[in-house]
Every structure is written in structure tokens, then in C-alpha cells.
Symmetry: C2
Subunit: 424 residues, 2 copies
């Protein structure tokens, strides 16, 4: 992983430059408004937000309440994570001494384990005894995995002991979910007396993307009104269809109609801002993650002419969830590119409590700027942000790196606030 | 200012290595204990603590509740300051949008103004409108000072408007004292309706070093008991004499008796740990700062044979305070030295709320290891810490830099806790 300063080229950046200038000029209003929001709705314990930066628009496309990828953050900013982790623990469980991280089930993935171990290390450096447990049935004994970094990741099976969970005699005060619960709420975690964050209802077995984006739209509208901007500059338009069955071909009419509505609405906005690009829409399963059940469409015909393979792909999300409710979202171009071969770069922002602690770019060499960049099996090179997201510099250009990173942190916190309202 | 990694040599480091190892091994206990303390007694808004590292012992010698020197911190760790400043503001005044910093009166000192402007910038980056006001009678109009860094520091006279203070139409929610009030509580700040931090009673017109060290002794004893260490390893022994008048030569008997008691007590500790050094004591005025009214003594004769110049020096503290109560404190050697010419280096640790945000070494080329390093007119070169104080590394040696800096941060927080109890 390199922490070289990324040179990003954006094609159409008129409105975004205006947005960045505006966020800088109104920074006191931005921060005071956000502080007010956190007093009303406390932030989730942690989160990561995928952003897309189209130059003319900057918007979140995914908010992960069980973030992985901590290993991709710039080691120079680990102190920020450690300090924010202390603040986060103090808020939810100030007397905690032990924290147990519940791992995702894909424990064969060395990159994921590297993230888990980085996360565990953050809590250890923050002064807690931190360990990692697995929910997998096939992990029955404590195990060690040697990571690519040379570190070792220790995993142990989670045990239920009365109203508590533990691993062996390690009985934590605080249980931190890093498993998105796509397969449902695990019985072993129901009604435990320990503090469990985020709550079980934050898992994908309960959570719906449509709820998130409904809240996001409200947040973006309120923020835009406060800041006197067009909310479209910071939010993707979203429509939805219920009861879609791709295999049985039912619900396709709703989908086609909404895709057409969306493409027209986006075209209208492009016309308003003089943007010479083809609108596209993203069709997503309402639950689930990892880019399963997601497709990009540029015309209604792509929906009406779906082949069997595409139907199959859309009908299955992670761990066998069946798609029914479907989101039709405005596609946001990623016009940030890196290097001579114009690799597409997508920023991912990390937060602990309401503090922005860092971020990195997913740099994709084999993808184009209108594709989903978080698809299964996708290869990306992480490029850690060279600077923090909390040091805006009013004396510098609005699109200078500290200011661009600051803008990322602001928009990511809007998504975090939407998630907070979802869980409230 | 350089941020080169300092290579520090300590002569006698047996017990300190043990202390550093112990703090590392018991880090969870250290942090859990401190978190518990902050729940009982909230930390002051900000502070800096001067430490002395004798190799065999690590102890605070001065706790400043109106810290200057923010310009000496490593710019790489400004994000930590910004994040902690956000947390500090949220705790005392979550709806604050404007903060007014009340400057020290020595506004001709360009280094001090550089610190003020750095501090103002931290709050600005944290998202508050931040400005600086002066209490000086001779500043009647807003003024600008060009700093050595090229930045500009804006100062304006503080105005009282009813129950509020302001500068012009800038009426802040939060008033931050960076003036130690040696000359007394200014009437203009009495009974204002705005949040004033630290409170007026934290000024040197009220505060007594003896109170601080009485609380520090209690804190160090409780901490040492929790951690199973000798409290002497982290605290200077302190005695005091009331009613000392250096000019009238009254109270000198008490001083001589206590100096003798102190030197004997230190010798006993040195014998216990096999330390082959000459004990010394530091005699300090109970109020006041900037190293005024401080002398170092190695024998009782130095007290009984004080000459007129020494008496004069001890009788006057900053801004004409008359010394009466006097502290006799164990002298703690500074055995951290830097470079070929063995310049003495003294760590100074900075905190916002209860977060350790950074530090630097005062590097003195013309002073010896048993002298007071914060005397008036003293020249020092600041050497910013190359690393944060919150990233201990258990896999590294106990005296590796991250671990030494972590130990500094722990001891500095003990002094911060003593200050919190002083103000409670």
C-alpha cells in the first residue's frame, strides 16, 4: 500500500468546486449543524461510507455499519482512530475494560482478517483488552491465522454462558458486531446483558437500503436548506419497487417504469447544470451487500431484455437472501481517476462515533467510471488518504487535497447521520 | 523546528524501564482507571504538563492550565488536536459556534502569539469561529501582528456588554482563558453569562502549587496502589512553609529545616534504589509561573546564606505577586539529553479535555540537568515529538519511543487529574 499523494483528475467540476467552496466558507454552519444533530441522534459506533465523486456532484452510495478495510487506512493517522475509539467506548460503555469483536463469516479472507486485526489493535492501543470471536459453526476451537503483514489473527468460537457471551474465560463488557448478519440474527446474540453495538437490528437481515436512503434524502434536504445548496449535489435520487421477482419475471413493469422515470429525472438535472453525460441508473437489492444483486442500466431496454444470467445474479444476494424490494438509484459517475491509465478511484470514508478518522481510495484498473466498484471478486488497490479529513485549509484552493478530503468527511457524516436516524 | 526523531540517552534507567514495562503490561488497568477518574472528575478544558525524566523516575514538575507552545507541536498531529478540541467543546458547550480566546498579557512575545494563532486555527479547523481578545489596557483598537511563520495574528480589546464579553459584534458562546491571571481576576470577566473555561479560580491569583501537589500526591498514591508500584517513581516529594518573607528573613528556619528533611528523604530513596547522585531540592513560590521565584538547592547552607540578589529573586514572582507560602520539592533530575553536546531535553505534554494530543521537548544547550528549565529569559529549542503519545507498542522494547511517549502521556494525565480535582 502506498500513501503517495493521489493526483485526481475530475472532468466536470464546476458545481463541485462550488460545493467545496461553499462547505469551506460555511464550515462553522456545517459543523454547528452536525453537532446539533448528534445531540439529537447519537452516531452509530462506527461506519464506513462509499462516496462517488462525479466532479459536478459528490454523494454516498453505500453506508456500512460493520466496516472492514481498517488495514487500508494510513498508519500515520492511527492515533486519530485510537482517540476516536476511546471517545466511542466512553459514550456507549465508559466502564468497559474488555471488548469482543464478532467477526464476519468469511474468515478465510486474509484481507478481511487483516482489517479485523487492525481494528483489534486500535482498541488494544486505546487501552482495552480486545479479542475476536467467530459465529461460524465450523470453528470449534481457537485458531491462529498468519496474515500477509506478518501479524497473527487469533479467532475463537463465540460461546453463550447464561445471559452473556464469551470466549473461554474472556467475558467482555462490550460486544462489537463486525458481522453484517445477512443470514439473520444469530440466536447466540439475542438478549445478552452485555452492551452490543451496533444493535442486531443494524444487520442486513433487518436493515433496508431504502430506509437508509429515505433518511439520507431527509438529511440532505435539511443540510442543503441550511447551506443554501441544491440537495441533488450531495444526494442520489432514489425510487423503489416492492415485490420484484427476477426469476418469475414479476414486478419488471414497475422496474422498467421507474428506471425510465429515473433516467429522465437525471437527464433533466444534467440539462440544468449543462452536463454532457449519459444518465444511468443503478438497480439494487434492498438488503444485502458486497455488490451482490446490483446492476447498472442506461436504458429501459436493459431491464425488459434481461437474460437468464442477469436474472440469476439479481435474484441472489449474499448468503441466499431472496431479492424482493428493489431500489432504483441515480447512477453517480466516478470521475476521479489516478495515473496515466486513468484507473477509477472511489473514496471510502471511515468514522468512529461521529469523528471522521480516515479513508482510502479503491483504485480499480479494469473498471469504468459508471460501474459498481464493490462487486464480488472485484480487485482493487487501496490507496490510503495522504491527509486527514479534518484539516480544511481556507487559505488554499477549494479543491486542494485538505479541502477535498474535508468535503468527503462532511458528506460521509451526512450518511452517518442518516444511519443514526435509521437505528434510532 | 525539526521533527527529527530524538535520540535520548538516560544514565540510570533501571526502575524507569521497569515503570515503562509495567505501564505497558498493565495498560488496560491504567486506561480503565483513568476513564473511571474522568467520570468522577471531568478533566480541565486543556493543559500542558512539564515532565522530568530522571531515568530512574518520571514525574511532573509543573501543570499549566493556560498552555502556550501549541506552535511547537508536530504539525503531523494537528488532526489529533482538532478532534480533541471538538470533543472538548462538545463537553462544555455543545451548541457553541463562536469561541473567544483571552490572551496572556505579554502580547509582544512573537512566540506566544504564534502559539495563540495555532490554537485559534485548531478551533477554526474544528469548525468554530475563533478570535483572540486582549485584556491589556494599552490595546484599545484591533491590531494585527505578522508572525515569524508568515501568519497574521489578530488581537482586539475585550469589551464588556451587559452580562457578556465580546469584541465588536463578535459575541462568543464560549470564552477560553489563555491568561493565567497572575495579576488577579479581571473585573471584566466576573459573572459573565457565557461559558468561561477554565474558570477564574484556575488563575494563579487563586491557584496554589501546594494544592496541586497535594492532589497530585493523592492521585499518584491511588494510581501506584492500583498498579503495584512505588508512588515515588511518579511523584516528587513536596513539603511547604507558610509565611516566608525572604526580604525580612522571616520563615527561613522553616525553610532550612524542610530543605534538610527533603534532602535526607531523597537520599534515603536514592539509597533504596542504588542511585549514585546528589539529592537536590527545588524551592518555589506557591503561586506564579514562568520560573520566577524558583531556586535549586543542594545543601541547607544555600538557604541560610542567601544573598540579597537571591532574596530579591525569590521575593518577586510574576507581575509583583509577593511570595509567602513556599514549596520545598524534591528535585528531579533531567537525564534526557540530545546530540553530541548533551543538551538537556525536558518533555512537555499537551492535553485537550482528557486526550493527550502531543508534546515537544524543550532542548536547552546552556543548562545542566538539575536546573529549572522554564526560567525567565531562558532560551530553548523546541523539538516536536516525532510520534503521538497514544500508540504504545507492546511488541517493541519498553523504552522504544512509542512506549516512552505513552508513559509520558500517562504521567501527564495523572497531573491533569490532580488539576481536575483542584478545580472541582
Amino acid at each position: 500500500m502506498s500513501s503517495v499523494v493521489p493526483h485526481l483528475t475530475t472532468a466536470l467540476n464546476g458545481p463541485l468546486l462550488q460545493l467545496e467552496s461553499h462547505l469551506l466558507a460555511r464550515q462553522t454552519d456545517v459543523e454547528a449543524w452536525l453537532r446539533e444533530q448528534w445531540l439529537q441522534t447519537p452516531a452509530p459506533f462506527y461506519a464506513s461510507v462509499d462516496l462517488r465523486n462525479a466532479g459536478f456532484k459528490l454523494a454516498p452510495v453505500d453506508t456500512n455499519l460493520f466496516p472492514a478495510g481498517f488495514n487500508n487506512l494510513n498508519p500515520a493517522f492511527m492515533p486519530l482512530c485510537i482517540q476516536a475509539a476511546q471517545a466511542a467506548v466512553e459514550r456507549v460503555c465508559p466502564r468497559a475494560r474488555r471488548i469482543l469483536i464478532i467477526a464476519e463469516n468469511h474468515t478465510r479472507n486474509l484481507f478481511y482478517l487483516e482489517s479485523l486485526e487492525t481494528l483489534r489493535g486500535i482498541f488494544e492501543q486505546a487501552g482495552l483488552d480486545a479479542r475476536i470471536a467467530s459465529l461460524r459453526d465450523d470453528i470449534t476451537d481457537a485458531m491462529e491465522v498468519t496474515l500477509l503483514s506478518g501479524k497473527t489473527c487469533h479467532l475463537a468460537p463465540l460461546e453463550r454462558k447464561g445471559n452473556r457471551v464469551a470466549i473461554g474465560d474472556f467475558s467482555p463488557c462490550l460486544v462489537l458486531l463486525n458481522n453484517d448478519l445477512s443470514a439473520g440474527k444469530p440466536a447466540i446474540l439475542e438478549d445478552i446483558e452485555q452492551e452490543l453495538v451496533p444493535p442486531l437490528k443494524a444487520g442486513w437481515s433487518t436493515r433496508k437500503k431504502s430506509d437508509h436512503f429515505t433518511h439520507y434524502t431527509d438529511v440532505a434536504n435539511a443540510f442543503a436548506e441550511k447551506l443554501d445548496i441544491d440537495p441533488w449535489l450531495v444526494s442520489p435520487m432514489t425510487l423503489q419497487c416492492g415485490e420484484v421477482d427476477f426469476m418469475a419475471r414479476s414486478g419488471t413493469e414497475c422496474l422498467a417504469r421507474n428506471v425510465e422515470t429515473m433516467l429522465n429525472a437525471v437527464q433533466k438535472k444534467y440539462d440544468q447544470y449543462g452536463i454532457d453525460r449519459q444518465p444511468f441508473a443503478v438497480v439494487k437489492a434492498d438488503s444485502g451487500t458486497y455488490g451482490m444483486g446490483i446492476m447498472t442500466v442506461k436504458s429501459v431496454e436493459e431491464i425488459t431484455n434481461l437474460n437468464r444470467k442477469q436474472r440469476n445474479k439479481m435474484a441472489s444476494a449474499k448468503e441466499g437472501l431472496v431479492v424482493d424490494n428493489v431500489l432504483i438509484q441515480e447512477g453517480v459517475y466516478t470521475f476521479e481517476t489516478l495515473g496515466e491509465d486513468q484507473a477509477v478511484a472511489e473514496p471510502v470514508i471511515y468514522m468512529m462515533d461521529h469523528f471522521v478518522v480516515g479513508g482510502f481510495y479503491r483504485v480499480h484498473t479494469g473498471r469504468t467510471f459508471d460501474e459498481n466498484l464493490n462487486a464480488p471478486g472485484m480487485h482493487f488497490e487501496p490507496l490510503a488518504f495522504a491527509q486527514s479529513c479534518i484539516e480544511p485549509n481556507k487559505a488554499d484552493k477549494p479543491d486542494a487535497e485538505p479541502n477535498r478530503f474535508y468535503a468527503y468527511g462532511v458528506i460521509a457524516r451526512l450518511a452517518l447521520l442518516a444511519a443514526a436516524r435509521e437505528l434510532a
